[in-house]
């Protein structure tokens, strides 16, 4: 895309927020998908925020006043999604899993966003040997299977420690390292494109310093597509976290609840006919990733005029109702 779609700023700030503005301009099936995505993502965020309130038990609780919890009990009225081999309540663990996931996603994406954007900006604008090295490095990392890199990173970072913060940070940092090249590439490419745009050149001919050009002019323009990458990366972060957990490089069950780890532990349950320990964390991953992906994809479609779509029906309806003359 070479023409920027400009924000229509005579609308209220609320309407200009990324997601809301997208919702307003969507229609038909596209709107349906966006709404489905928003609902799932909203559910995920609410669950994460209020897990301690909603969940009947703690994530690593295997007994209460009335005694030890049953093990691998099928869903019933007390344990609505059953219990695990350790006697943890699957429902509570699944809810708390959202909390862990969101921490990791936020930490990872925010860190990689910050570093990736900064590096991309400087590297793309200033060029030179720094740029060349950064590009080769990021290309190499980008090309390498991200999960493997995350595993190596998680070993390096955590040195095997398991505390909640340590575990979450280790996972987050491993994912960060993997993602930096993505932001770097996007921002750098955008900066390279914008560098040739007349408005940047007009700042240059005025004599603005490189820093001024980068931060006053390029930053906002180059980060236009980031909300989209943000959601897409959030899904990737979640999947990477689950992959780490599944392979046993993640967070321990007593420090936090993590879906991938629970799924791993549920493998043998599932083949023994105990379906509930694996199904719910698995579904949680699937639905969350779907929700975020739907939001991301819809935003992508709506951002790109080539992909944005108005139904002919709607056009017909409007012409026929004659409301056209009224609108400005």
């Amino acid at each position: 895309m070479s023409t920027a779609t400009l924000p229509t700023s005579n609308k209220s700030w609320l309407d200009r927020l990324p997601v809301i503005s997208h919702l307003r301009m969507s229609s038909g099936l596209q709107r349906g998908m966006l709404i489905a995505g928003l609902t799932l993502s909203g559910l995920f965020i609410i669950t994460a925020l209020f897990a301690p309130l909603i969940a009947p038990f703690d994530f690593a609780q295997s007994s209460d006043a009335s005694g030890d919890f049953p093990r691998q009990a099928a869903p019933d009225s007390k344990f609505i999604w059953g219990t695990t081999a350790t006697g943890y309540d699957v429902f509570s663990r699944t809810l708390f899993g959202a909390q862990t996931a969101i921490w990791v996603i936020l930490a990872a994406v925010v860190m990689s966003l910050f570093l990736g954007v900064l590096l991309g900006l400087v590297s793309g604008y200033l060029g030179g040997w720094f740029d060349r090295i950064a590009v080769v490095l990021s290309d190499a990392i980008y090309a390498f299977p991200s999960l493997l890199l995350a595993i190596v990173m998680s070993i390096v970072i955590s040195q095997g420690q398991s505390s909640l913060f340590g575990g979450v940070m280790a996972a987050a940092i491993s994912i960060t390292v993997v993602f930096i090249p993505q932001y770097f590439r996007v921002v750098r490419a955008e900066v390279m494109r914008l560098k040739a745009e007349p408005f940047v050149e007009s700042a240059q001919v005025i004599g603005a310093s490189p820093w001024r050009v980068m931060f006053a002019h390029l930053l906002r323009n180059a980060t236009r597509t980031l909300p989209l990458i943000f959601t897409l990366n959030a899904t990737e972060a979640l999947l990477t976290l689950a992959g780490l957990g599944f392979l046993g490089f993640g967070i321990e069950p007593t420090s936090a609840s993590e879906w991938g780890y629970d799924l791993n532990r549920a493998m043998s349950d599932a083949t023994s006919g105990i379906w509930w320990t694996g199904l719910f964390p698995g579904l949680a991953i699937v639905l969350t990733v779907m929700g975020l992906t739907l939001v991301g994809e819809s935003m992508n479609d709506l951002n790109d005029p080539r992909l944005r779509r108005f139904s002919r029906k709607k056009a017909k309806r409007i012409t026929q109702s004659g409301q056209v003359g009224a609108s400005k």
Partner: protein, 564 residues
């Protein structure tokens, strides 16, 4: 062929009509709500007639014309009737619609490079249309494709039929597109700005081709353009559109000589006319030639290296020129001749690779951003596309204040006052400072851009096609403003344009650039009236003037030139 449009028999009544549009209304749904694009349009096209539709950007020309093919964007809805040989293209569906497309009506697009699929050979694309309508063998289809290519004047069509689009020049690509349209011998060709993307010299050839087609095959042509010169050159009848409605319809001579509507009159008045209002009218020698030299190029060379081992490209080659204090230097030349590159080199946006270029005494061969920076406040720059030259996230006020922020140490109220003053000088209300660039019209944006360039009262202004993105009426106003400001502030300017008439209006001293070399220099009136170089002659002859009678004369001239 010398038949004048006036005498064209097709223009007479009685010939069968190919296309009839009745009460056409089209609306689009967009983010901002519904957009009415066409309102109650009625028109007819007869066999062998060339109908020109003119009007400013967004007036609904393209949308109207495309309905003749039954093409309408997904978000559009139409009412009314578009009858092509009696069939209503608005209601035709599926197979019948496909039958009509190509066979009865064909389309020629503005950008030949995007209208051709880059990954297939041109022959494939021409044949495809043929085979979609006729059950014939590949070989036969190919023969017909070659024939069509020959018809549009592509040399060696037997070989070139297997070339890919990128292997053709822009003009040839447009010929291929026309060949594809011709292949099925349709009765109507819709040509949407078929020459806008081309240089004037090529434009003249394409227009000639269209005219020949009409004469030889009797094809009706609807040509859309906003160039009045093109209209004068080719049209039999003209429709003027404004805001989705037809303002006026008339035979071409009548329209130019006796326009009825005010809108048409103002439109015609705004069109620059070569040789009228020349800035160097009556001058005998170069004014300001004794004044201080601001820019001096000697043997200037700019070479762009190729990528991944590809050969590079020399955009500017051995150019010598001088710009004196207070002088407006006009630089003309066709696309890719290096005009912009020279302008950018002066502003330090390009490195020069050879020769010498002194800007305000600074040798650009030893360019260092740090040492050049102090000089920047004496140089202003106006870009071609005003929309792109403003940071979309800053208000107009902030953009205009940018040079002040960099070079002057003003407090906010002072800045605000200065910005208001600047906006006023370009005749914009001070309140515009708080708007965002996209909330201004094109002309207003270009004024703001001028304000920014002049904020530090530069000695030198570089204006790179500052009006080519604007509609003629707007262009006229901006040019007028430019002239006034130049007279008032007395800055020297390098004025770059491919429009000879515009350059002549503004610049006293004009240079003609061709493939990176400066062919000739001189007083505007001299160079344009009496070109020395053959290329310049051809350039000027190719430029259609907005006057049908005069243009008919000029066409003879060009034919003679071509014949020689």
């Amino acid at each position: 062929m010398t038949n004048s449009p006036v005498l064209n028999p097709a223009a007479n009544a009685g010939t069968p009509e190919v296309l009839r549009v009745e009460d056409l209304n089209i609306d689009f749904v967009t983010d901002a709500g519904a957009v009415p694009a066409v309102r109650g349009v009625d028109l007819q096209v007869k066999t062998g007639e060339i109908l020109a539709i003119v009007g400013e950007s967004g007036s609904g020309k393209s949308v109207t014309a495309r309905t003749a093919l039954g093409i309408l964007a997904e978000n559009g809805a139409s009412r009314g009737g578009v009858y092509l040989k009696g069939k209503n293209m608005l209601t035709l569906r599926g197979h019948e619609l496909r039958e009509a497309r190509g066979r009865d009506v064909a389309m020629v697009f503005q950008e030949p490079s995007t209208a051709l699929n880059p990954v297939y050979t041109v022959g494939w694309q021409i044949m495809e249309g043929i085979r979609a309508h006729n059950k014939i063998s590949k070989k036969e289809a190919k023969a017909r494709a070659i024939e069509a290519m020959r018809q549009v004047g592509i040399p060696d069509p037997e070989q070139r039929v297997d070339y890919y689009p990128h292997q053709f020049s822009g003009g040839q690509k447009q010929r291929v597109v026309i060949a594809a349209a011709l292949a099925l011998k349709p009765e109507l060709i819709v040509a949407d700005e078929p020459t806008t993307a081309l240089d004037v010299t090529v434009q003249a050839e394409i227009l000639q081709l269209l005219r020949d087609l009409r004469d030889e095959l009797g094809t009706a042509i609807v040509i859309i353009t906003h160039n009045m010169g093109v209209v004068a050159d080719i049209a039999d009848r003209v429709i003027v559109m404004n805001q989705g409605q037809i303002v006026e319809q008339a035979p071409v001579i009548q329209l130019f000589e006796a326009p009825q509507e005010d809108y048409t009159k103002s439109l015609l008045a705004a069109v620059p006319h070569l040789g009228r209002e020349s800035a160097s009218e009556g001058l005998a020698e170069r004014p300001h030639q004794d004044a201080e030299v601001l820019v001096e190029a000697a043997g200037l060379k700019v070479h762009f290296p190729g990528r991944l081992g590809a050969p590079g490209f020399t955009a500017v080659n051995e150019v010598d020129l001088k710009i004196h204090v207070g002088e407006v230097y006009g630089l003309v030349g066709e696309s890719g001749s290096g005009k912009t590159t020279i302008g950018r080199s002066i502003a330090g946006l390009n490195r020069i690779t050879g020769g010498s270029l002194k800007v305000l005494g600074y040798e650009m061969a030893q360019f260092k951003e740090r040492t050049f920076k102090p000089l920047r406040e004496q140089i202003g720059f106006v870009f071609q596309d005003p929309a792109a030259s403003f940071n979309p996230h800053l208000t107009v006020g902030e953009c205009v204040a940018e040079p002040l922020a960099v070079h002057r140490d003003l407090n906010p109220p002072q800045t605000r006052a200065k910005v208001a003053e600047l906006l006023e000088s370009v005749q914009l209300p001070a309140g515009f400072a708080n708007r965002y660039p996209h909330e201004l019209s094109g002309g207003q944006r270009q004024r703001a851009s001028l304000a920014r360039a002049l904020a530090l009262e530069p000695k030198l202004l570089i204006a790179d096609e500052p009006t080519s993105a604007l509609d003629v009426s707007v262009q006229a106003k901006v040019l007028e403003l430019f002239r006034e400001l130049q007279a008032e502030l007395g800055f020297a300017a390098l004025f770059v344009s491919h429009d000879l008439a515009v350059v002549d209006q503004l610049a006293t001293w004009v240079g003609v650039l061709f493939r990176g070399s400066l062919l000739e220099e001189g007083l505007g009136s001299k160079v344009l009236a009496n070109p020395m170089h053959e290329y310049t002659q051809r350039l000027i002859a190719s430029l259609p003037v907005p006057d049908p009678r005069e243009q008919a004369q000029r066409r003879k001239l060009i034919e003679r030139l071509n014949g020689s």
